[in-house]
Homo-oligomer: 271 residues x 2
């Protein structure tokens, strides 16, 4: 694979400030960057967006909105306000998409959290439309159902995107969250048919996985059939970036320049 569709999430090389990430990605031939909001702390967002574009990088999306559910109505309102701010930030940055980690509150049934997610997205959709920023529902692995997302399968994300039925709502497919699902191929097809497939994230599942959150593997170092899943995604007509999103205490502790070279090699050969 050439690098024309390679994007890297700023959190993948978390030790680097975003200015360093932009410079290093660009010099290495990477063509896209996915920006996490924490990377923008203290920056002029418009200038940071311009810096990325001037360096030859497409801004693929802003991560992340979401976290809508709560047993506390004030926290639900605060979440909606925060998502509106994220939409403003995406517009300033020049990101066409926000990825939603939808949220879940362990103090209430999953069905209630799911309804609050749908209501929360509906509440911010007018802002998204005004800003011309799309929102992508990202189903998260079931091991995050307690606090991170009550949307745990692609079928659920597809259901919700269909229910919201807006050109400003799509779905993010991440191999880490979905690789185990026996219905993955058919749900990717369904997502594509609906024109809802808005983002594609890659990494690998480490064997063994030592930490629920921060032990993701480099492509090829685990057991996810990344090429097969990418094939299903591309068969839908998806023509967007392949985004490398790796949370890893192991990799964050390494030299990031060397890690970037490993990412590029793994992307070319194992993705």
């Amino acid at each position: 694979m050439d690098l024309s569709k390679l994007s890297i999430h700023t959190i993948t090389t978390k030790p680097w400030p975003i200015e360093t990430a932009i410079d290093e990605f660009s010099k290495a031939g990477v063509k896209g960057i996915t920006v996490w909001r924490d990377a923008l702390n203290g920056r002029d967002i418009r200038q940071t967006g311009a810096l990325a574009r001037d360096s030859g990088l497409s801004i693929v999306s802003l991560c992340r909105g979401g976290f809508f559910p709560s047993t506390d109505v004030n926290k639900r309102k605060a979440a909606i306000d925060d998502n509106k701010r994220a939409i403003e930030e995406a517009a300033q940055l020049g990101a066409p998409l926000i990825v939603l980690v939808c949220g879940s509150d362990p103090g209430q049934p999953l069905e209630v959290s799911r309804q609050q997610i749908q209501d929360g997205i509906a509440a911010v959709l007018p802002d998204a439309k005004d800003a011309n920023v799309k929102l992508a529902i990202e189903p998260l692995h079931p091991m995050y159902a307690d606090t991170r997302s009550a949307i745990n399968t692609l079928a659920q994300a597809n259901d919700m995107a269909e229910a919201l039925n807006s050109p400003f709502v799509g779905v993010a497919v991440d191999v880490y969250h979905l690789w185990w699902d026996p219905n993955l191929e058919s749900e990717i097809k369904r997502c594509g048919r609906n024109n809802h497939l808005a983002a594609f994230h890659i990494c690998d599942w480490s064997v063994p996985t030592k930490d629920l959150l921060n032990d993701r593997g480099l492509m090829g170092d685990g057991c996810i059939p990344i090429k097969k899943i990418r094939g299903w995604v591309e068969e839908t007509g998806f023509n967007g970036f392949n985004e490398v999103e790796i949370f890893s205490n192991h990799w964050w502790a390494q030299d990031q320049s060397q890690f970037l070279q490993k990412i590029i090699k793994a992307y070319r050969e194992k993705s």
Copy 2:
């Protein structure tokens, strides 16, 4: 809840030898015991079964068979032999059921592992029938899809039990593995309609969960709606034991007599 349907897995109080567990469970009014094979090491299995029954405990099942898939044909053959030994042990113990942790090999596609599971169960079914021991397919949480089970939803377990179509094949429902599934209620109903619901395991999902394997919570200490799920199970006509299966580095480090009292209190009030 009274204790007439309470069973405890020997691994829940792992620090106790099985003889101590039998004695303590019995004195505390527990009515069932689920025996892990490691607890039988070095014992006369028939005598151990008799000891449990003489102490007033029903032997609910033997844990665990399974682990059928492998890229190595010799390992697949060894797994079938091991499952035949487990069937002999269950018969000697007087356990009517073996729970299958079906297995998965990260070196091959999940679909291949799934077929090897089905083939493996089919290969040992004649032995199960001869011994009058039932086999329960236990779907495991998707976070175990790499090495422990390629069967990760109740729908998959139901599909396989229906395909095998034998009175000696059932399904084990464990709230820890399945609580997140949006189709859980309908799949429990389907399982019951088929007369496949053979076992019901309880514990809780700790928030946060610090370890993928050994951080299960006591009922009521997490976010699983245990009573609701038990209600669905009982609506099918299931009249078996509620089996407490907790793997926990935290609880194993505590005084096991005090832990047993906490289990009984949590069972009465939070299950």
